[in-house]
């Protein structure tokens, strides 16, 4: 069934179809509509789940950790400072190998207080052990919630589904909402292997000495590495069932491209339009969309960029003292590759400033006119 809905509600429908059993939430703009709609679903019986209305995001994550540990499929959503407040519990959820799914609506971190989109909130959580998927459209947000539970429950690591504030969260788009029976066949009920069971008591997350800790983290890292292949399989299977296949990255008009834009999130849609325009003009440009950020799909990125002469990475985020975070990852992926494209790292659109087709055109122009790789970030559209 196709509906015209906003990104936040696309996430809510995804959670309903995934039959989450426990949802804990705390309101924060611009995420709130996700859990408002889920609260209604729980209240009117459209979703058979317990909705826990906690008093902070720290408690949100602790509650879904408890629910997941007790064997339930658990979901929450947050943004920005809410995600920041969860930080220590994010480590707990991932280290605890719990297949929680969370939507994070990318919102700028203060100060200055700002509710508009930027990716620094989620990217700052990159070392917590959560998988991260960046969505381009409302449809992708819905689809990634359903896939997210399947991936998380296969590799036993939590999944963060990331969508841009307002550009997706509050923007209406046509979205195909799959039927429940098909989703049920794609995503069977969660069958936890390790759980709190009074008939088979075990202790979880207690004291671990140096004798064992490192092995636990090594296993976690192996699970992360496995997640790349699992995501590809789940994305392909999703394509077979629902007609919309997904991969860890997406290559758009990349064949024969001399300049390749690397984007994530909704900027990708804008970049597609610009690539089409430049291609129509005979220019050899293409696009690499990074859907998965953690685990970082090194091989897929390297393979996609193997033919490019120049790579322009578009970062709507900033690691102060370093630069754009996707750019750092792409550089690291290219290290040691037989072919080394010239890389330009662009910072743009911080604090929710619009990134327009003109902005993307300026980025391509810059890349076209320069031949020496830039080590320092190139800040676009910064006022004097």
């Amino acid at each position: 069934m196709e509906k015209v809905i906003m990104g936040n509600h696309a996430v809510s429908y995804g959670v309903q179809l995934a039959r989450a059993q426990v949802i804990a939430a705390y309101p924060i703009t611009p995420q709130t509509q996700i859990v408002e709609m889920l609260s209604e679903f729980c209240a009117d019986g459209r979703l058979d789940a317990k909705f826990i209305k906690v008093e902070s995001e720290h408690s949100v994550m602790a509650a879904v950790v408890g629910a997941s540990m007790a064997g339930a499929r658990a979901f929450t959503a947050t943004s920005s400072h809410g995600l920041g407040l969860m930080h220590e519990v994010l480590h707990w959820a991932a280290g605890g190998r719990l297949p929680i799914v969370m939507a994070n609506v990318n919102r700028t971190m203060g100060p200055g207080w700002n509710v508009w989109t930027e990716q620094t909130d989620s990217l700052a959580q990159r070392d917590t052990g959560w998988m991260q998927f960046y969505c381009e459209t409302n449809q992708e947000a819905l689809d990634t919630v359903i896939q997210g539970f399947k991936i998380a429950e296969t590799v036993l690591l939590p999944v963060m589904i990331v969508l841009d504030a307002f550009v997706l969260s509050h923007t209406m788009e046509p979205v195909d909402i799959p039927d429940q029976a098909t989703v049920d066949s794609f995503l069977p009920p969660y069958d936890p292997k390790f759980t709190l069971d009074p008939s088979d008591p075990h202790a979880f997350y207690g004291l671990v000495t140096p004798e064992h800790y490192m092995e636990l983290r090594h296993k976690m890292h192996q699970a992360m590495q496995k997640a790349v292949e699992v995501t590809r399989q789940v994305g392909a299977e999703f394509g077979e069932v629902f007609g919309r296949p997904y991969d860890v990255v997406e290559k758009y008009r990349i064949d024969g491209a001399e300049i390749v834009l690397v984007t994530s999130g909704s900027i990708t849609s804008t970049a597609r339009v610009v690539v089409d325009e430049w291609r129509a003009d005979g220019q050899k440009v293409g696009l690499l969309k990074m859907r998965m950020f953690r685990p970082f799909p090194f091989e897929a990125a390297r393979e996609a960029l193997a033919g490019a002469r120049k790579v322009a990475v578009v970062d709507r985020n900033i690691s102060q003292g370093h630069g754009g975070i996707f750019a750092a990852e792409i550089r690291s992926a290219l290290y040691g590759a037989s072919h080394q494209p010239v890389l330009f790292p662009f910072i743009i659109g911080l604090g929710g400033r619009d990134v327009t087709p003109h902005s993307i055109g300026s980025i391509l122009n810059y890349a076209q006119e320069h031949d020496v790789p830039a080590e320092e970030s190139i800040w676009m559209e910064v006022k004097e």
């Binding site: 059993q21 426990v22 804990a24 789940a49 317990k50 826990i52 209305k53 906690v54 008093e55 902070s56 720290h58 408690s59 949100v60 602790a62 509650a63 879904v64 950790v65 408890g66 629910a67 997941s68 540990m69 007790a70 064997g71 339930a72 658990a74 220590e88 519990v89 707990w92 759980t195 709190l196 069971d197 009074p198 008591p201 075990h202 202790a203 979880f204 997350y205 207690g206 004291l207 671990v208 000495t209 064992h212």
Partner: protein, 299 residues
């Protein structure tokens, strides 16, 4: 009063608490009362150590160790998750220290009991951050030495009244207990188990290394705390019905309790008198609340 102490042992030998620690005793009695259809949540505290290192466990029920500030929140999730799996009769009990309860965890605890989540929260109160090496908490009593309230500047504030805070949430059941009165403690845990909604149990837990007391005297100190009325045993139902469950045979001067603990060794006679005056006033207030509920004061 019933003297029915169940035989079932759900705490195993081999825990790693210090000699004379009140915390494993409190947990042992509580688990006897709860039985094996229980999930125990341990909040970062001395019990993080007491339960034993991976791959061992000192309890024979499922144990979930969780972060310092999550005593109320993680229990809410565990209860919801168990119910989603159809385990509706399993009791969830959080066991946390005073730091995790009075300080860093009070927000999540207040929220969980305000929602009247169906769980038991047991605070074992050793009146300071003992696991990190004896730093003051808001449960540390007035005048006590800790490493952050040194003898030249002992704690100037009274102990936070956690039972009053919990009672102010009008939860179904709040009670105090000590390991000197196991039959009273077990009865209260059983009662808590029988009630749906939020239950808060505040257990005084002597800490020989932090209190600078003799390990062999922990139970005796717990008894003196009750008999001197510095830690009375009572329960509060729905935030307003108070009843004292153990009346002191003869009110013991609080000095007898204080002088067995090195943390109070620096106190001058007027300091002891100040504490005595406060204990007397608080006890009178408690007796008045119990009378207002209709409880008869024994002769």
């Amino acid at each position: 009063m019933s003297y029915d102490v169940p035989d079932q042992e759900l705490m195993t030998p081999g825990h790693v608490a210090c000699p004379g620690c009140g915390a494993p005793m409190a947990a042992r009695y509580a688990l006897k009362a709860l039985g094996d259809n229980t999930v125990l949540i341990i909040i970062a505290s001395c019990w993080s150590i007491i339960a034993g290192p991976f791959p061992y466990s000192a309890v024979n029920v499922p144990l979930l160790h969780s972060l310092f500030a999550t005593g109320g929140s993680v229990a809410s999730g565990v209860k919801a998750g168990l119910e989603a799996r159809g385990l509706k009769d399993t009791t969830v009990m959080t066991l946390a220290g005073d730091g995790g309860t009075f300080d860093i965890g009070i927000q999540a605890l207040s929220a969980a009991v305000e929602r009247n989540e169906d769980f038991i929260y047991m605070c074992y109160d050793n009146e300071a951050y003992m696991n990190t090496g004896i730093q003051r908490s808001s449960a540390t009593p007035w005048g006590a030495w800790t490493t952050t309230t040194p003898v030249k500047h002992p704690k100037e504030q009274p102990k936070k009244d956690m039972v009053a805070i919990m009672a102010a949430h009008r939860i179904p059941y709040t009670a105090t207990a000590t390991v000197a009165y196991p039959e009273d403690l077990i009865r209260k845990v059983k009662k808590a188990k029988s009630i749906r909604g939020s239950k808060f149990l505040h257990v005084l837990s002597p800490c020989p290394s932090g209190w600078k007391s003799e390990p062999a005297q922990s139970v005796f100190l717990s008894r003196l705390a009750v008999q001197s009325c510095i830690f009375p045993l009572y329960e509060v139902e729905h935030g307003e019905e108070y009843s004292i469950t153990v009346w002191p045979r003869k009110k013991v001067p609080v000095e007898e309790y204080l002088r067995l603990q090195g943390r109070f060794a620096h106190l001058k006679p007027q300091d002891v008198q100040y504490i005595q005056d406060n204990v007397d006033r608080e006890w009178d207030k408690l007796v008045a609340k119990a009378k207002a509920t209709g409880q008869q004061v024994p002769d």
